[in-house]
Subunit: 406 residues, 2 copies
């Protein structure tokens, strides 16, 4: 891959296209072996195009196809190929029609976007004004793509990937199953998977997306043993599995929708993190009836201060005041200790945890919020309620079963 642009080279924006393309190519069996970033200067781009063409079979070039004077990738490729640029009348017409459709006249500067190096093949861009193109240089197939992430991604998926697959039909195509775990480290997971005999062409990958670890099961496409192996991996992850092909938040959204349970949340330590997070997903948002953030816990008297009893009182008060089925609460204790509580019609569960790692305050709020959601997940799916959680040591836990009135 060759990324162009001063903003990327000088760190004003992070090159998210690069990370995305790298991941997608790897998933599809076309792992990148080299990535280069250069600025906007015509000569620099042209030289880099030549260098890349000399050492790779395929290069995907990103950026520099816009209408402004500092968009020079097309001209650089013409220079590298030692050809002129020529007007592509098909794209010029397409561009003009798009502007007219919106009641505007095409500005002259956009004509530049219909100029391609002689001999290049146009690649359609249904969502933007910059068409892509492909051309060969020194026997290397080069694809040119726009920098706008949505346009870039669509062009890769719809146009470039099919061409790569047609050109390299024997490249192992792979499927990926994604499993998300919480509360267990990568090395522990690795040990748990050791007994699983992977068939040829299967491979495991890990991606740490704190506080979760994404386990990726790579396999040949439509292999007969995919579901067998995936089930074995899921079994090994055990009750640390928080999402099968989806995140914990999505899992919770599905669980809450299916069970028609409603939530209220009282946050002291987590300060709105959980409430805000729940609002990122339509299903969890619908279930969330009320969220409170309290700078001081006004729900308990400080006289007989017992942190576990206090956080359970908060969770219960949240549940009862909002008139819903589930209450979740986080309370401060002291010196890195956090109390978390779950209140339900079937009983209450409370826990005091302490982090074993150097977490920033922000990361700790994330961990504690995840832990609360995970308590609810365990409750809703009938799992062990007080598991060991990596990065968080449990100092105390309390279960108050519901009192059945006679």
């Amino acid at each position: 891959m060759l990324s162009t642009g001063e903003e990327v080279l000088h760190g004003d924006i992070t090159d998210t296209n690069a990370a995305w393309l790298s991941r997608r190519c790897f998933e599809e069996g076309f792992a990148l072996n080299r990535r280069v970033t250069t600025g906007d200067a015509l000569d620099d781009i042209a030289i880099e195009l030549v260098r890349c063409s000399q050492v790779s079979d395929v290069v995907i070039v990103n950026g520099g196809l816009g209408p402004t004077t500092d968009d020079l990738t097309t001209e650089a490729m013409a220079m590298a190929m030692d050809v002129d640029v020529e007007l592509n009348s098909y794209w010029l017409t397409a561009l003009k029609e798009r502007f007219e459709k919106n009641g505007r006249t095409m500005p002259k500067s956009n004509i530049k976007q219909a100029m391609l190096p002689e001999g290049a093949e146009l690649i359609d861009n249904p969502v933007g004004s910059a068409c892509g193109f492909s051309a060969e240089l020194n026997g290397c197939l080069m694809f040119f793509t726009p920098g706008v992430p949505s346009e870039f991604k669509q062009m890769f998926e719809d146009e470039i990937l099919p061409r790569l697959q047609a050109r390299y039909p024997n490249t192992a195509k792979r499927e990926i199953q994604r499993l998300y775990s919480f509360g267990v480290g990568e090395s522990t997971l690795n040990d748990r998977f050791e007994a699983i005999d992977l068939p040829e062409g299967f491979e495991l990958g890990y991606r740490s997306a704190l506080p979760f670890i994404e386990v990726k099961v790579f396999s040949p496409r439509q292999h007969s043993e995919i579901s067998l192996i995936t089930e074995a991996i899921k079994h090994a992850i055990g009750d640390n599995l928080v999402g099968d092909g989806k995140s914990l938040l999505e899992t919770m959204g599905d669980l809450l929708r299916e069970s028609s349970l409603r939530l209220a949340v009282a946050e002291k330590f987590t300060g709105g993190y959980l409430t805000n997070w729940l609002n990122e997903n339509a299903d969890t948002q619908n279930a969330l009836t009320q969220g409170w953030v309290l700078s001081e816990s006004s729900l308990v008297t400080e006289n007989d201060y017992n942190p576990l009893a206090a956080v359970l009182a908060m969770a219960t008060a949240a549940r009862e005041n909002a008139g819903v089925e589930i209450g979740l609460a986080s309370g401060n204790v002291e010196a890195g200790r956090v109390a978390l509580g779950l209140s339900t019609a079937m009983g209450d569960w409370g826990i005091i945890v302490k982090t074993g790692r150097k977490l920033t305050n922000e990361d700790y709020r994330c961990y504690a919020s995840t832990m609360m959601l995970d308590m609810l997940r365990r409750y809703l799916t009938g799992k062990e309620m007080f598991p060991e959680i990596s990065a968080l040591a449990t100092l105390e836990s309390l279960h108050i079963p519901v009192e059945i009135e006679q």
Copy 2:
């Protein structure tokens, strides 16, 4: 810069070191002109080192200095230089002492981290087990640094940057003033700055960090006109200036601390975004007494539903129920319209806005939360309360002055 590592190359982690180094180098007057990313394979790294050495004066290499078998950067450099690796006894002793200090014996695998290419100069790493080193190849000065971001950053600041400055004393050293704006686009800012005559060596840069634009004023170090020019730029940004060397959140923290005002927040549309955000800063966290997130606004009757009156009722109820000086509220209206309210002892202000851009729901919650904080900033600093805001069209606004009882 040369970044090494399969995780970076295949997109499993984002190369934050690259963006950071690019920005720091640019700020110090040593702008990068090329960045390459390669995997973990010995040959690939060695070839890339040679290529980089042929086209650059200085290369900073990052990653691959760890104790494990896939950390091969040192060996690759020795291969590129056609020399052997040799034990650096100073670093071996330093490593052993560190392990002993923690009551541990140094594992054998760490000996590898004391091996450097013959002729290389050791670079100290006070915070990690991987020392850095520098060596010349084809007349190019190459620095080798560990991948751990905190170690990498400290090594650059303390060791590499001083060496670069000593080697290139005539490189223009620059200072940067950072100004943050909200509610105004880059092209509008650019127009406003046109009348300002920048002295030689001054330059303006923009970094879009939505919903803010960071304006960077680059200047020669200790130039006599820095404050004059910076003041002129601040004047041109006008009341869109939300932070002088600090973010809006930090600005609000300072304003709230100085004024000893306390906040309560009632969020319907923004769903906890503002409350969670306020909790990221110690000063704003201290000022925040209570935050509510309501799935339905139980504070107003739906009979006489007037969105502006409703959001002001929410803000007022939040303020009065929590017994504090400031109430902020967000309410849904319909179809992309959001009502925002500020309630104070000096009167209430409400506004209905609509986005002109295609914002994701998450981004819209961010914009609306920023708008609420910006209303409070304008109130506390005596600015115009209903400004034009780019990306948000104001549909309606309402000011209810405090009723003075006779």
